[in-house]
């Protein structure tokens, strides 16, 4: 799976590159508008991450061009601009998702996975990680053919773990994934603790192995082989 990262900040592009490479993606980086413009005309990508403000041009123009060329690539905008206008403009042009900087790499990863799943399987398939079988469209999870009775938030958190298998997920990233930008309202970290304990209990009760590991008070890590 090929991913093009169009981002002018080199260290951020490098971090995204490294994180996604470990997921098994083949990544390329474009730091300018012109460079990106050439690449999207020559190669085909499965997923393109676009920053809106680029040296030499606007990322939205690139999306326009991709759509004009009937590109099949999934497009995620990564922008420092957190305005509804840009969001709507981007989605109207045909981008699939919008992520505001600063974001968590694990969140970006989960979004790419969800997008790819939607694109490739048209969303009607199921996938297996470890002993967990997931039907993403129905939001159902099975352990050894036994369905887990999960609440909405529990499913969200589990799904986030599955997308970031073998990665340390910080509490902040989990909270932001589950509650959005406004996770700091009430003590969300206590919520996460409660939800994760429930998840562990439900998986164990269904005969599954507890694969959620705690990491030094920073966060959690899902370990499915």
């Amino acid at each position: 799976m090929k991913v093009l990262i169009i981002e002018d900040e080199p260290s951020l592009a490098k971090d995204i590159y490294q994180y996604l490479e470990k997921e098994g993606y083949i990544c390329e980086i474009s730091a300018t508008y012109n460079q990106a413009h050439q690449k999207i005309h020559v190669y085909n990508y499965d997923c393109i991450l676009v920053d809106i403000t680029l040296p030499g041009g606007n990322g939205l123009a690139l999306i326009n061009e991709l759509k004009h060329n009937h590109s099949e690539a999934g497009i995620i905008i990564i922008s420092a601009k957190d305005s509804l206008d840009d969001r709507i403009k981007g989605l109207e042009l045909g981008s699939d998702d919008y992520l505001t900087k600063p974001f968590h790499l694990s969140e970006l990863n989960a979004r790419i996975k969800a997008l790819m799943r939607r694109k490739q399987f048209k969303g009607d398939r199921e996938f297996q990680i470890g002993n967990l079988r997931v039907q993403p469209l129905e939001k159902r999870v099975f352990v050894n053919d036994k369905e887990l009775n999960l609440t909405g938030k529990e499913y969200d958190i589990l799904n986030y773990f599955l997308a970031n298998n073998h990665r340390v997920l910080t509490k902040e990233a989990i909270a932001e994934h589950a509650w959005g930008d406004h996770y700091d309202i009430v003590d969300s970290f206590d919520f996460i603790y409660v939800h994760i304990n429930n998840l562990r209990k439900k998986i164990k009760e269904a005969g599954g192995k507890d694969l959620i590991k705690t990491v030094y008070g920073m966060g959690y890590k899902f370990m499915a082989s």
Partner: protein, 424 residues
């Protein structure tokens, strides 16, 4: 004291003092002239009397003098002087039953070989009446003059100072954050024109500085986002190694949490800058009832977790003309506040009526003035996780959308009231 009143007081009191001074001098001059003429009359009458005295025999004259109140005599031991003495005196009048002023003259003469002092008097009562008449007319004159001057002055002052009052009114109505610069009309009076020019120049400069500062804040917040992204993602990359000892974990955790907090502060400041720079001018019809219900669903879990009992009376299809994004931030921040600063097992009451939203929640008694809550970075509870920007954002949104708000604390309840123009 008002400018016009102050000017009038100075002007009219000077006028009054001058007039009183003038009338004093006037009366004094008249009395001098009158006294002079009375003395002359007395003198000539005295000469006639003395002639009569010397012509006739002393006996009959003295008899005559006895009958007259205007003529008096008494014997003296010797003649001390040949000078005449003028003086004023009061004599009791049995008819009028009061003392009446007289002018009198004394002369010492020899009558039938004996020294006699004779006194000739003249009543001043008619002159008193004259003075009363003069004073009366003077008073009327002074009153008329002052009233006239007052009216004239008032008209003149109001006319002359009119441009100044216009300037004052425009300047006090002027708001820096609003659209449109300060414009002051031509006054046709050099000093006022100068004042207007100086004011307009000053305001233009302040406006320019204000807007470039706001723009700077927005740009700075924007520019900070990217390096912050680098910090946060770099730490997340580091975390994946898991090759740290406990101290290192602790340091990484602190840096990571601080970076996340900085990111949240920055986002809030960026939002504030954008509201102030009018990025949200577009207005839509916002269905407050729907928005509020959705937000309550969103916060349902947190509300239940904190064991808060909630009562919501939301009248359906309550709409307002406003910016959808801002209105959502506004409602969200209000709900967040009601949840975050609630007591354990507390309560929240929400009431949405056409044009009014009341959010009441139990909470700690405020230690400081409630208006402080709307200041940026003010935190009632130092230890709380909040940024201290929520209500500052609420305030800016209310200003931007012309909503009115009121915040009070009664019966252990924090009460926030929002007033808006409802759409039919």
């Amino acid at each position: 004291m008002k400018l016009l009143a102050k000017t009038q007081v100075y002007y009219l009191s000077l006028l009054l003092v001058l007039l009183i001074f003038w009338s004093g001098i006037f009366l004094y001059a008249i009395s001098l002239v009158l006294e002079d003429s009375i003395d002359e009359t007395l003198y000539s009458e005295l000469q006639v009397s003395i002639e009569q005295f010397q012509d006739n025999d002393a006996e009959s004259f003295l008899n005559y003098a006895k009958k007259s109140s205007l003529l008096d005599y008494n014997y003296i031991s010797s003649i001390h002087t040949k000078k005449l003495f003028y003086s004023d005196t009061l004599l009791y009048n049995s008819v009028e039953q009061e003392d009446i002023p007289y002018r009198q003259v004394h002369a010492e003469i020899m009558a039938s070989g004996k020294p006699v002092r004779i006194t000739l008097r003249k009543s001043l009562i008619e002159y008193d009446d004259l003075f009363s008449a003069i004073i009366f007319t003077e008073l009327i004159f002074i009153m008329l003059l002052i009233t006239g001057m007052y009216i004239l002055n008032r008209g003149l002052l109001v006319k002359i100072w009119q441009p100044f009052f216009t300037t004052l009114e425009r300047a006090s109505e002027y708001r820096l954050s609003q659209k449109g610069s300060l414009h002051l009309p031509n006054a046709d009076i050099q000093e006022f024109d100068q004042l207007n020019e100086v004011l307009m120049g000053m305001m233009a400069k302040i406006e320019h500085d204000y807007h470039s500062l706001k723009q700077f804040t927005e740009n700075a917040s924007h520019e900070i986002q990217t390096p912050l992204s680098v910090i946060i993602t770099r730490i997340e990359m580091l975390l994946q190694d898991e090759q740290f000892d406990e101290n290192q974990w602790e340091s990484i955790k602190d840096v990571y949490q601080a970076a996340n907090r900085l990111s949240r502060i920055n986002k809030a400041l960026l939002l504030l800058a954008k509201i102030e720079n009018r990025h949200f001018e577009e207005k839509q019809t916002v269905n407050m009832s729907k928005m509020l219900t959705e937000l309550l669903n969103e916060f349902d879990e947190q509300i239940r977790q904190k064991k808060i009992s909630i009562t919501a009376k939301i009248m359906p299809s309550n709409s307002v003309s406003g910016n959808e994004e801002l209105t959502e931030v506004l409602l969200r921040n209000l709900l967040v506040n009601a949840i975050r600063h609630n007591t354990g097992k507390g309560e929240i009451a929400i009431e949405l009526l056409p044009g009014t939203l009341n959010i009441t929640n139990s909470g700690k008694e405020p230690e400081q003035d409630l208006s402080m809550y709307f200041n940026r970075f003010y935190k009632a509870d130092i230890n709380s996780n909040s940024l201290g920007l929520g209500l500052a954002i609420v305030k800016e949104i209310c200003v931007a959308q012309s909503f009115e708000y009121d915040y009070s604390y009664q019966n252990h309840q924090h009460i926030f009231t929002l007033k808006f123009q409802p759409l039919q």
